[in-house]
Amino acid sequence: MAPLLEIKDLHAEISGGRKIIDGMNLTINPGEIHAIMGPNGAGKSTLSYVLSGKPGYEITGGEVIFRGVNLLELSPDERAAQGLFLCFQYPLEIPGVSNMAFLHTAVNSQRRKRGEVELTSPELVRKVRELGQTLGINAEMLKRPVNVGFSGGEKKRNETLQMMLLEPYLCVLDEADSGLDIDALKVVSNGVNALRSPERSMLVITHYQRLLDYIVPDVVHVFAAGRIVHTGGKELALELEATGYAQYQNEAA
């Protein structure tokens, strides 16, 4: 079975700035859930941005193969159409663009790019409403501008809705639990778990073990100083909770 994602000796830095990713290797097979844990400032969020193609980062070495193509050569929208989804740590507010119009444009842009038939408005509205119900997103929230006036929990549920609607092959969840209370965390985790399938993989970036009680990983990596320094099973997350990251930071240095 070909891996879904292969990161090989990746080096990246902030444009004109310091090096953040420093020789990272990671292979994710279809259906696997990988957690990346590590201290603040280790470069975890940068990894999510580099994968999704955010401007402002420079790749200075290595490659990323996603579903057989060189991901780093694609624009952010092409990466999305290829099946990559980044669940933002802090989802942005977009005044003047209604949530439903945004979802409609996103879904059909991707379908167009992949040569698939576009969804009609009624088809999309029905699908969005159904998914919205499972996440506690009502019609009113769908009419409002994207994320404007949403609470932290509502924003994360809205991210989860986008993810469920777009049906990506790889979901990158960047600190999916930040800003969430336990109830919202359960709703979001249920949404994520509903997406688990033999073809779909997840990369869960977090610095707390808590989230991994709800989204149970197959593999846990410790990320420090720009690369993976240790890999283990799901029990590693509990060990880290007890011992902290200090030993690995020394290892990386």
Binding site: D77, P95, V107
Partner: protein, 446 residues
């Protein structure tokens, strides 16, 4: 002999000013109107001749130096012939199909056979300005009386006004069907047009008035158009003015609006066409408790230059005004917004807010904002704000990360930026048409 010390220092006449003087001298006897109108024209031309074309040292024209931007004055357009009328038949496509009552002016002349004058609602009267001036009309006595102004471009309009529309809505009459004035230039050689319209909406009456201006690209024609608008007590007027002139046109437009007590007045500018565009709106809010909304959208590219001058004069108490302007600038385009809110001493409890925002899509585009407040009353709420910036790259990335291509992501964000103003337009057909026009502009962008 020594020169007299009382000699006035006059600026050197430019070739355009000299040509305008010749045009006026040649045309004055043929222009419509009796002796009173002729006297008014002569006085107005004197005002223009003393001031000359506005230039940088005239504060209101500081950013639009007509001496530099209008090197030549084009000859007056001839009355439209059958061919011109035929070419004008397709004009006003942007708002076609909404069932508005269209009044068409070709090369500055009202053309009844292209206009929809059938089944006029009771209380609505329409005639051409040339007809009103030539054959007399009580309303024309109001010309020049709406709002006081010494502006040289308006004076030139008064001196050379050829035709236009005189429209009246009788007291208490609600005209449901919007009236659209379609101004179209058809000539392939550069000509000039001086149109003047007068719209009187009497007490308690209601009207939606749309005005659109278009013409051929690649022809350096010149439009000087003016509207005097009287909004009676308790009346409701919504006006939308679309400037979609050809690529090389110079378009100078003045609106003088007098609004009486408890009336509602809304004006929206929508500017996409023309090389040099000036929209000046002088609103005199004469009575108490007036609600006014004065908004604008400019979508400019290439070397387009658009200048909006807004003067809101709160002369009565408890008035509310909202001014909101958006400019989207591509290429090396320039947008200028000069907005002044004046609150007179008696205009207590005035609530006025002005906001102008510009979005620069390139490093060569330029936006100038000059807000002014002049407040003589002591119990008012007034504010102004202006912003100039580029598209938010974080938002652009967020949209792209969901699969939306760069150009569409930008279009969504720009449409949202402009939507804040367009959504305020009361007439749904106009709102939709302008949203579509914005989308077309965005898709046409390189």
């Amino acid at each position: 002999m020594a020169a007299p010390i009382s000699a006035q220092i006059r600026p050197m006449k430019t070739s355009a000013e000299l040509a305008l003087a010749e045009t006026f001298a040649a045309a004055r006897t043929a222009l419509p109107g009796g002796p009173d109108v002729a006297a008014q024209r002569a006085a107005a031309f004197g005002t223009f001749a003393d001031a000359g074309l506005p230039h940088r040292r005239v504060e209101a024209w500081r950013y639009t130096d007509l001496r530099a931007l209008m090197r030549e004055a084009r000859p007056l357009a001839a009355p439209p012939d059958a061919e011109a009328k035929a070419r004008a038949a397709t004009a006003g496509a942007m708002l076609a199909g909404h069932g508005f009552r269209r009044l068409v002016l070709v090369n500055g002349a009202f053309v009844p056979e292209l206009s929809d004058l059938a089944g006029l609602e009771a209380g609505l009267s329409i005639r051409s300005m040339a007809d009103a001036l030539t054959n007399g009309d009580a309303l024309t006595a109001r010309l020049g009386q709406t709002v006081e102004s010494q502006d040289a471009v308006l004076a030139l309009n008064t001196a050379l006004m050829g035709d236009g529309v005189v429209l009246q809505v009788a007291a208490g009459t609600v005209i449901e069907r919007p009236v659209e004035l379609v101004f179209v230039t058809t000539e392939a050689t550069p000509v000039s047009m001086f149109t003047r319209s007068l719209v009187v909406v009497e007490d308690g009456a209601s009207l939606t008035l749309i005005e659109s201006h278009e013409g051929p690209s690649g022809v350096a024609y010149q439009v000087n158009t003016a509207l005097e608008l009287v909004v009676g007590a308790g009346a409701n007027v919504e006006r939308v003015k679309i400037t979609a002139e050809g690529s090389d046109a110079v378009h100078l437009a003045t609106v003088l609006a007098r609004v009486d007590a408890t009336a509602t007045f809304a004006n929206t500018f929508f500017t996409t066409g023309g090389l040099v565009v000036r929209n000046q709106l002088l609103a005199h809010l004469a009575g108490e408790a007036i609600h006014a909304r004065m908004n604008g959208v400019s979508l400019l590219s290439g070397k387009q230059h658009a200048d909006t001058l807004l003067s809101v004069d709160h002369a009565g108490p408890a008035g509310e005004s909202r001014e909101s302007f958006r400019a989207v600038l591509d290429g090396a385009a320039q947008d200028i917004f000069q907005g002044k809110i004046a609150v007179r001493k008696q205009a207590q409890k005035t609530d006025a807010r002005m906001l102008s925002r510009a979005l620069l899509l390139t490093e060569t585009a330029e936006a100038c904002n000059k807000p002014e407040l002049e407040i003589f009353a002591d119990d008012v709420q007034c504010g102004h704000g202006c912003t100039t910036g580029t598209l938010d790259q974080q938002l652009r990335f967020y949209l792209m990360s969901r699969g939306i291509p760069a150009k569409e992501a930008e279009a969504l964000l720009i449409q949202a930026f402009v939507g804040e103003v367009l959504d305020a337009i009361g007439n749904e057909g106009v709102r939709t048409a302008l949203t579509d026009a914005t989308q077309a502009w965005l898709l046409g962008r390189e």
